[in-house]
Symmetry: C2
């Protein structure tokens, strides 16, 4: 069921564009996109916590929403610039999304190993640009980043 | 960190009102609410797949969004009429929501045991009204229900 003809690095470019758009808007620079098995873009989006004051819009949920109602996600690929948090990993698992491409898992490691254990075809690209984007952002705005992943630092 | 003074059955009434509102709108009857430790309602909502053509708005994510940006969820309680799916269970885990009240887990059993293993204080009320609401809905609109949990039936 796993799409095989798609190049993860090519797909990642769309997610990276989204992450950069989010940064330009003053937001948290994480982007994502959902693709069909033939490479058709179904939906794309980025984190909108700051822009919309909406804690529920992570990059992956934004891309998922933008793709609209789909009947079968098994042949789809979720691409995200950063390892998905539990919220977004749960999304991938619940809807049976077949494949996951992760830009980087250095600055944050969420549920991508858990998803692999549950049958999702996971590729971690370890893209330097994605890592630098998050490293710089976390250094500049740590309070926003920790808020976004529900981490309380006292 | 777990709120102790709140009665799960009382909190559940708000989620049940939301589920019924969703049904009246022609939607999937699942409702949820997020409460502070002192019983203050932070946000409430219901599944809006049908109403908004939005697959990302489950009851729990709607309640979470309605609560706005919060800095610390450890003392909050998520109340939902139905056992949360992986997507919504991931939400509870990622944001460190301290307690979960589940109306019923008969018609669908999601990640509430997983959450209990990860330190969330979980109460399953096993409310007959919640169970009847879902049983009747699934019998009437099975295709909508399976779409909502990403289950493909061929």
């Amino acid at each position: 069921m796993t799409p095989v003809a798609l190049d993860p690095r090519t797909l990642l470019e769309t997610a990276l564009e989204e992450a950069r758009a989010g940064l330009d808007e003053g937001g948290i620079p994480i982007g994502a996109a959902l693709f069909a098995a033939d490479g058709t873009l179904l939906g794309r989006g980025h984190n909108r916590r700051v822009q919309d004051d909406d804690p529920s819009t992570h990059a992956e949920t934004a891309a998922f929403r933008a793709a609209g109602r789909q009947r079968d996600y098994r042949d789809t690929v979720m691409v995200t610039t950063l390892s998905p948090c539990w919220y977004c990993s749960g999304l991938v698992r619940q809807f049976g999304i077949g494949a996951l491409v992760v830009g980087e898992a250095r600055t944050f490691s969420g549920g991508h190993d858990w998803l692999a254990e549950h049958g999702v075809a996971v590729t971690v690209v370890d893209d330097e640009r994605c890592a630098t984007l998050m490293t710089d952002f976390i250094a500049a705005r740590p309070e926003l980043w920790y808020e976004d992943i529900g981490e309380v630092r006292s």
